[in-house]
Amino acid sequence: MPLKYALYPGCAAKGATPELYQSTMAIIGRLGIEVVELAAASCCGAGVVTEADPDVALALNARTFAQAEQLGLDVMTICGTCQGVMGAANKRLKEDPSLLERINRMLAGDGIAYRGTVTVKHLLWIVVREVGLQRLGDQVRVSMQDFRIAPFYGCYILRPSWDLGFDDPENPTSLEKVIRAVGGEPVAYPGRTKCCGFPVILEKEAIAVAMAGNNMKEAKDEGADFMVTPCPLCHMSLDIYQDRAGRAVNARLNLPILHLPQLLGLAMGIPPKDLGVSHHLVPVDSILRVIEKRGGSKHAQQLPVSDQQGAEG
């Protein structure tokens, strides 16, 4: 039976990081995931709308949850920030009936009501817990072996842990597990759980790029070939602002940043153009050169290709 979810794309995947949406759609079928896209779902508020009005942020999310509830599906997010914000909103709405009632009153004019039956899960969690690392490993056609890959979690997918309930924020392991499953070697560095600076990048750029720069420099110092993140806002800070981040910490970074589904897609042997890598400001050529060599050569043949049918099973 396929795993079926209501896909909540979020703003970034439909805006400044179109490669996230493209790569997500390219890989999910091979993992046995089917989605119905919530095309009318609004922004989750990103932790920003709640600063204007907490009830508006909750109501926007309740509206989205109600759309998934209508479909009888759980929500799949592909953005760490969406996951944190929506997971916390959902928890509050489920745990506090009077709050749910008040928020539903804001939606009542349009005939919308959320009953509190939906669960919100990030693609990373779905891959680790529901698809399974074994199945992911079975789909690998181009091993990421010899790549030292720096996992960058970002804040919202880890903290506060009682709102998320997946990884240990002090010692998260899900990205590392995924990196190992595609043959790569995860790089350990303190910055992997820290902030990318994105939330203040437009108004307090010096703070933001110093954070991004420190984290990437640490990863480079530990020998990272590239970085992977489950959050497109982190991606924007780390990729788009990388030149400035490097200047802030006096380092030439030149560190490609991959979205989680791009890493999976490359390992599955999906053509890079189908994963949207041309949208990156920091070129990923250094990765592609190695992968192209492996693609049709002995490396690929060493990998299991027996379960080509397994993808559909």
């Binding site: 703003c11 509206r63 804001m106 002090e170």
Partner: protein
């Protein structure tokens, strides 16, 4: 069980750099990290310096970095740390000057707490202030959101990612303290406005990146970041809407209300606006993003069902009689 405890040592009078020292100790069930430190001092190495007093998570003296995270040593179980991390590494609080070993200089911390005026400011005229007759707090008339539970241990400041790169940042503990006074009904609205006018400056409320580290590490569930968010809301509500941070909030909400989703092409216009220098900083990146297909169409059609989104904002602006309090700040 016999365990190894790896402790960061540093004596600025004799050492060039901090270094790790390992101590092996037989410990039983229920042992805390502070128990271990005290035993090491008594049984193995009297030169080890650490701060402690109450030993029961009340005084806030023994905050330190245990296995990479800020914790009170007195309520951190050795067994649980071992299960979680497979090792016990102990270091002083990050991003504060080390006096010796695990003892850090908290003077910048206290300076920032003093810097937020942690007392009720005098009202302009006590005699004519209509509230002066009811200065005693009555139950239900105030809500400190648990920020008064703070024990000033410094864990949040050490964990703060903004403080790490910007030492002048007032930081989570001091800002949570400020929120406590903002919630106090005995302080006049004028004094609160003056308070917020100070806090909206550089190194204040708008420097927080909402990383949630302070919320995660606080041993008393103060949730300092939530306090900072309350201060931001209060600043906007009291008309302090000109800062980049405030414009980020109001501009973002405005885009969602009209388009349903965030449009990254519009955000710089909302935040940077007429600041020519900042705009010149944004434009080159904008061009590079445009060439890479990363700039969404600023004139794109709004989300399907945008009417529903707008009615959420309208409902909030109206405020239902039951909720009674909502007012979405409208910025010209």
């Amino acid at each position: 069980m016999r365990l190894t405890f790896s402790i960061q040592r540093y004596n600025p009078e004799t050492d060039v750099h901090p270094h790790e020292e390992d101590y092996r100790l037989e410990v039983g069930r229920g042992t805390t990290v502070l128990d271990v430190l005290i035993r090491i001092k008594n049984e193995q190495d009297g030169t080890l310096a650490c701060r402690y007093s109450c030993r029961s998570a009340i005084c806030g003296s023994c905050a330190m970095e245990i296995n990479g995270s800020e914790k009170l040593a007195c309520r951190t179980s050795v067994r649980k740390e071992l299960e979680r991390h497979g090792r016990i590494n102990i270091a002083p609080l990050r991003n504060l000057p080390v006096i010796k070993d695990l003892v850090v200089d908290m003077s910048s911390f206290w300076g920032k707490v003093r810097g937020v005026t942690p007392w009720i400011s005098e009202t302009s005229d006590v005699a004519t202030d209509p509230r002066s007759g009811e200065m005693a707090l009555r139950p239900g008339s105030y809500q400190f959101h648990n920020v008064d539970a703070c024990i000033m241990c410094g864990a949040c400041v050490a964990a703060c990612t903004t403080h790490e790169v910007s030492k002048g940042f007032l930081g989570p503990a001091a800002l949570a303290k400020a929120d406590r006074f903002l919630s106090d009904p005995r302080e006049s609205p004028a004094a609160k406005h003056a308070r917020l006018s100070e806090l909206e400056k550089d190194d204040g409320i708008w420097d927080c990146v909402r990383c949630n580290f302070c919320v995660q590490v606080c041993p008393k569930d103060v949730k300092p970041m939530e306090a900072i968010i309350r201060l931001r809301r209060a600043a906007i509500a009291s008309g302090l809407t000109a800062s980049g941070g405030a414009r980020h909030i109001t501009g973002f909400a405005d885009i969602i209300e009209h388009h349903g989703r965030l449009n990254e092409a519009l955000m710089p216009l909302k935040i940077v606006r007429f600041n020519l220098k900042r705009m010149l900083g944004v434009i080159p990146l904008g061009i590079r993003m445009l060439l890479k297909g990363k700039v969404p169409n600023p004139f794109g059609r709004p989300l399907p069902g945008i009417v529903q989104v707008r009615s959420i904002f309208a409902a909030a602006r109206l405020g239902s009689p039951q909720a009674g309090r909502r007012r979405l700040a409208k910025v010209p």
